[in-house]
Amino acid sequence: MSADGHIEKKRLENPPQTIDVKIKRREKLGGEQFWETFSVPYRRNLNVISVLMDIRKNPVTKEGKETTPPVWDMSCLEQVCGICTMVINGRVRQSCSALIDDLLLATGNNVITLEPMSKFPNVRDLKVDRTPMFEHLKKVQAWIELDGTHDLGPADRMSNEQAQERYAYSRCMTCGCCLEACPQYYEDNYIGPQAIAQARLFNMHPTGKMNMDERLEGLMQEDGITNCGNAQNCVQVCPMSIPLTKAIYQTNRDITINKLFGWLKK
């Protein structure tokens, strides 16, 4: 701790000259996976993306073998688009916000491993296809039904607290970390925490509530909410700190209430 009471971040004191980047690669959908290691000169302030950019400028392995430039997805580089998600040193996260110094400090060596997410079709190298997640959003009708986009003035008033609670759910960037970490999710058998939290987001809204039944319906199918095994891995890996277990709990409650009183509406 320094004089001003600030706990200074632990620094990488003796950075290595080079870092070894081990990448799990695949040539095409369905192809065999294989590892290649690249040696990259260390500099301060590197993140995983800039290391990959270095490699693509000179795609030669540590052993000196010429190879193809690694393929990965990236866009905003500010951890809001979700596209650059991969498994880094065994943990699923966004590669833009994975700082090399932190990774090296955590392991104490100079090796970094990069793997594609394992729960989605692996297109090539570190690139995956997360289309199923967008399909899940359709299933829970994650939107508000409007009468039309013509001018009808503002929506109802809302307390700032409620707006902030919704904001917390609305930050979900469909990155897929929660599904990657979920022990119940494989081969798209389960709609997953993302979609449940988005259903919650709209069920909480005064207008959105009017279509709650349809949304819950979408969660009561074979791949629905009952697949949750309460492992709680999802909240731990969610980069946006979305209260996923709370969403699952409250949605389960909504479903129960709906089942109990549903017949009244008929």
């Binding site: 095409k28 010429e66 393929v71 866009s75 409007l146 001018d151 503002p154 929506a155 700032n160």
Partner: protein, 596 residues
């Protein structure tokens, strides 16, 4: 008259999704083509907010004042009628987002809260936490997903537009796009095409933009005959966080809350900033602008920071200065700036409450873009444009929080205009025979030749070189000799481009061919920006030439229009419609230069 209309929209940021929603709602079919899944478009990056003169703060704000601020901020280079229409529509746009469920921050009475942003005296900016762009984009993404479920919108995500399909009369009949996994090329036939592909920040190498902001699609349209306007107007934000991979924005609010900008007086001083005593620090903004200090307008702050670094005063001899908040109590900072300081900490690793931030100006926004008329139509019949990729609204400089609203306005205006056009387009004629096949063939040949190319140049290194030249010479301070040299450099890079090797024998999902095509298009557009700047011998908005420090309305109150030719862009000038707000000198040093 046509009955089943199909409109192709290229790009699913705010502008593209706004247009898609309106067209689907009107009962027509949309093909929506986007490089990334639309929910991941660059619009998610916007943090600050969206402008609209809702006047809930009792300040007497009005769309007319919004119009005045926008024209004045843009140094009078924008055509005013569309600006007026946007400002009039802005409150309705914000209300519509409210109804779509955007969690805007609220006042204690439960109304939408508004904050103040640069270039205005009013609280006119609605915001949702620290990620307004993300929240607005998601709202549109949700509505468009609804239309997708209803079968009105066909999404082609992971497809990149390569070119337009034009018939013998230069009428746009659709486009060619490439599947980024299979590299398959496909024609998209359409009654009208709306381009909404965002800005071209990557031409400058590193910028605050997303990696998809290459301007490549727009450049392709330009090379096929679309006019490109005001290319030289590029906004550089004074405070961004330099990174190895990109420049991340540090919000203006850091200075608003008392942040001080300084460099060590001794060039190359290697000491820890905390160990440098006050009298050895140069607070150059406070020294040069005693009245406004660190809160001088964006363009001035940008120029000064740039200048001290060029003179060698940058921290550790590099292009960076300190933005220091450490004199403010940590609790205050957490309360007022928490979310944005977290971004710095996440990417740099230092806590700005205790360690001065290192920042540098970063290319941020392009005011220039495809030329459009007041209905968002380009000069090519059947081709429209909306969002950051068109040139309307912002003139020579964009005000903060005015872009998001202009994107939605553009989409909302382009949609009915495209439908109107499509209803009347003659579709039974024989002119379209063979044009799709011919364009597909032409595009396939370009891919094939890139794939075959063998040479010693690396395309990513060429891109780095382009970015460095453009950033050094075509951003903050511009000199004619350097602009000329830059154009020569671009020509050299175009020559060297012919010797790139893509280094990728596996064409499945390769990024090398798409990148090579983007790079070529960036080079073409870089010339438009550079030569536009060279030709404009005045200073206006974001365009600053020390040799011509004043605005020259007589000669240059005109939009620059660039048209492609094989040798060089052909530049011409078009009068600006200033029928609503009379131009006056732009001078923020004495409050806002109000006419009576």
């Amino acid at each position: 008259m046509a009955t089943n209309i199909k409109i192709a929209i290229v790009g699913g940021g705010l502008a593209g999704l706004a247009a898609a929603m309106k067209i689907a709602e009107a009962g027509h079919e949309v093909d929506l083509i986007s490089v990334v899944p639309v929910k991941r478009s660059h619009s998610v990056c916007a943090q600050g907010g969206i402008n609209g003169a809702v006047n809930t703060k009792g300040e007497g704000d009005s769309p007319a004042k919004h119009l005045d601020d926008t024209c004045y901020g843009g140094d009078f280079l924008a055509n005013q009628p569309p600006v007026k229409r946007m400002c009039d529509m802005a409150p309705q746009i914000i209300y519509l987002f409210d109804r779509m469920g955007v969690p805007f921050s609220r006042t204690q009475e439960g109304l939408i809260d508004f904050r103040r942003f640069g270039g205005t005296l009013h609280h006119r900016t609605a915001f949702a936490g620290a990620s307004t762009g993300q929240q607005l984009l998601y709202a549109l993404d949700e509505q468009v997903r609804k239309w997708e479920s209803a079968g009105k919108v066909n999404k082609y995500e992971g497809w990149e537009m390569l070119s337009l399909v034009l018939d013998d009369h230069q009428v746009c009949r659709g486009l060619i796009a490439m599947n980024l996994q299979t590299l398959e090329l496909k024609e998209f036939k359409a009654d009208a095409v709306i381009m909404a592909t965002g800005g071209p920040g990557l031409i400058f190498g590193k910028s605050t933009n997303s990696m998809t902001c290459t301007g490549s699609a727009v450049s392709a349209a330009y090379q096929q005959g679309a006019k490109y306007a005001n290319g030289e107007f590029i906004q550089v934000h004074p405070t961004s966080i330099p990174g190895e991979d990109k420049l991340r924005l540090m919000s203006e609010s850091a200075r608003g809350e008392g942040g001080r900008v300084w460099v060590p007086k001794n060039q190359g001083d290697k000491r820890n900033p905390k160990d440098i005593p006050t009298n050895e620090r140069w607070y150059f903004l406070e020294e040069k602008y005693p009245a406004y200090g660190n809160l001088v307008p964006r363009d001035i702050a940008t120029r000064e920071i740039f200048q001290v670094c060029i003179e060698g005063y940058g921290v550790a001899g590099e292009n960076q200065v300190y933005l220091d908040l450490t004199h403010i109590p940590a609790e205050t900072l957490t309360r007022k700036l928490g979310a944005i300081l977290e971004i710095y900490e996440m990417f740099v690793g230092d806590d700005p409450r205790y360690v001065p931030m290192r920042i540098f100006p970063g290319v941020h926004y392009s005011m220039g873009g495809l030329w459009v008329d007041f209905e968002q139509r380009t000069n090519i019949p059947g081709l429209l444009a909306a969002g950051e990729c068109d040139y309307s609204i912002h003139g020579a400089n964009r005000l903060g929080a005015n872009s998001l609203v202009s994107c939605v306005y553009g989409g909302f205006t382009a949609a009915p205009a495209a439908i109107e056009y499509a209803k009347n387009v003659d579709r039974k004629n024989t002119e379209t025979n063979g044009i799709y096949a011919a364009e597909l063939k032409r595009q396939q040949e370009i891919n094939d030749s890139i794939a075959k190319n063998e040479g010693s140049e690396n395309q990513y290194k060429l891109h780095d070189e382009l970015g460095k030249w453009m950033t050094d010479n075509v951003t903050v301070v511009r000199y004619n000799d350097k602009l000329k040299a830059t154009d020569e450099k671009i020509l050299e890079l175009q020559d060297r481009f012919k010797h790139i090797s893509i280094n990728d024998s596996n064409l499945w999902a390769t990024q090398a061919i798409p990148h090579a095509r983007q790079l070529w298009n960036m080079l073409e557009l870089a010339r438009v920006i550079t030569l536009g700047a060279l030709n404009r011998d005045e200073s206006r908005g974001a365009h600053y030439k020390p040799d011509f420090p004043d605005r020259n309305d007589e000669k240059y109150l005109k939009s620059t229009i660039a048209e492609w030719s094989a040798e060089a862009p052909i530049l011409s000038y078009e009068d600006v419609d200033i029928s609503l707000v009379e131009p006056r000198k732009r001078d923020y040093s004495k409050g806002k230069g109000k006419t009576a």
